[in-house]
Symmetry: C2
Amino acid sequence: MGNAVRFDYQHQQPVTIISGADAFANLRGYCEQHQGAKLNILVLTSKGHHQRGSLQPLLDQLHPHPFTVIDSIQPNPDIDALDALIAELSPQSFNVVIGFGGGSVIDAAKVVACSLAGANSRPLHQRFRANEATAVTRTCSLISVPTTAGTGAEVTPFATVWDDAEKRKYSLSGAAVAPDAALLDARLTLSLPAFETLYSGLDALSHSMESLWNTNRTPISEAYSRQAFRLIVQALPEVLANPADTHSRAMMQQASLLAGLAIATTRTAVAHSMSYPLTSHYQVPHGIACSYTLPGVLQVLKQDPDGTFAELLHDLYEPAMQLLAQLPIMAELENYVQWSQIEALLPEMDVKQRSGNFILPVNNTVIYKILEYSAVFYRNTEGASLR
Amino acid sequence: MGNAVRFDYQHQQPVTIISGADAFANLRGYCEQHQGAKLNILVLTSKGHHQRGSLQPLLDQLHPHPFTVIDSIQPNPDIDALDALIAELSPQSFNVVIGFGGGSVIDAAKVVACSLAGANSRPLHQRFRANEATAVTRTCSLISVPTTAGTGAEVTPFATVWDDAEKRKYSLSGAAVAPDAALLDARLTLSLPAFETLYSGLDALSHSMESLWNTNRTPISEAYSRQAFRLIVQALPEVLANPADTHSRAMMQQASLLAGLAIATTRTAVAHSMSYPLTSHYQVPHGIACSYTLPGVLQVLKQDPDGTFAELLHDLYEPAMQLLAQLPIMAELENYVQWSQIEALLPEMDVKQRSGNFILPVNNTVIYKILEYSAVFYRNTEGASLR
């Protein structure tokens, strides 16, 4: 290790992962084992999944236990909407909560599961807006069923909650926030549209790299990161070219899982720090916002005069640059924001909670370099297009 | 993936890993959290550790809880000796068992912890010799503290028990067999003699590769395997050249852990299958016995006419061959057995429980090829010497 990988750490990976075409068949047994014979199940999802019927194979497995489906979960779930939902659901004594969807649905399921009666009695908005470091507890079982391949939310011990009223976002985190089990069936991702496939794939790519150039990197997180990266380099171009290929879809799903396991240890770093103003000001999709800077970050590390990061960049720099050059990142980004507008956001890009995890000290000079290197990179690549 | 990696799997990693110079400082809190304020601790170790005082820093952390140290654990613990020990210890109501030592000590701790009163009441020899598939349970906490870097026993859900009377060995396995926590302090491995450093390092190397050419390989086990392999290639020559280098020692300790996590999922394969007669007939140390065939296995996969294993061998074949060529494997092996004697053991080398995990069907022809390729490999390498 040319630079510091942490040998002092505590590691727990509490999520049971159930993967494959039979994943749902194991669901009822898993829940009964943990909650006893009398289950009362809450399924959170989005309208789309409910209407398209993709939820049905899962619901079929719950019989004869009672279940309630709530399909009103919106992207980037708002704290007041979640509070209303929690108040409505709490009297029903659910002992299993299932989040079936993308990152927003799974994050909502995490928040709801940690807030139902018996867990935390005070409303979220009170706890978050008062900046209280609340101990998060949970009594029900929590199961994640991802339908995208990218966020890693199916295994991470944190959830993002949005405060539309106060224009802020909060992070709920702690051991209770991690799902008890993640069910992975790659067929659920087959119908993802091209742009969502790209965005979520870029999210996973970004996680795999952000967890490597990270001061919290451990030998275990590095194992997850590099395996995720290896899978993405192979499968992301394939899945964009041939969206119906179940094998590539499964590889991306496993990569998302592995990258999620990595950031569960390390959290994200400078590329995520630089993403937030693009999303809050210009609604740039998260997957694009957190990956448009990846070429610049790689370049900044490569340029280090002491060659400190040679070992880190080994098997990373070249395949990453090749992959990034063939993805339509810039074309997608320009649908939302121009480069001059991005540069103007520089003063907001150093969010220490994230940039502080980067293995180089971050300041405006470093951020400027990352932006400039990225601009040069995209100027010199052809830039495929999705549309 | 050129060949089948499993996407259908269930994965649990129940071991909390506490690594670093402060690992012991976390021990008491960990035990109190799981067993309450009243601890009664059993420490199993070997005479050497007890006499050299290397156990003391751990014992210092147990204060004021009562503890009992048993330092009579022998290499390859015998089933009747363990039964006698369990009968003696059971009345004392231990609620924490700590295994402090190499693989044999940790395996003994697993067996004892799963056999103390309250867990399984019938003696081991009855359960094993009757070939009963006993459900293994455990009520006490089980902590592993490895002092070698190789077996991976600190995280695996299985333990080997030897039956000296009936000249057999048994495997205890199940979720209860995996330790609750593994404490890793690399300083404990600093005093390992050169031959033990080599043998245990080769054991870890073998695990990292056996879990890759394995039908049970999953994307998660592959992450562990490849990271373990990457660390070993770098650190094993370093630690043999400079045994006092804590950083290399820590890398080997982490590699052993990662390789253990990998075989916890996959178990071992053909190289282990081919090792057993060497150990039972000629007492060849396990690390040498399970790795002398690695060049031959690599070669057999490389020779596959369809190139099926190109992806698997990528980043594996070349660095593995280079590493194996510079290690004194043949010199050590010849201290115990001659090559003609090894070849005569061929009929005993196909232990299906292990060889059945190999990604090619194993028969005597394949085993013969592995032996021949290995012989040619060692004939063409200089072969360093430890002594």
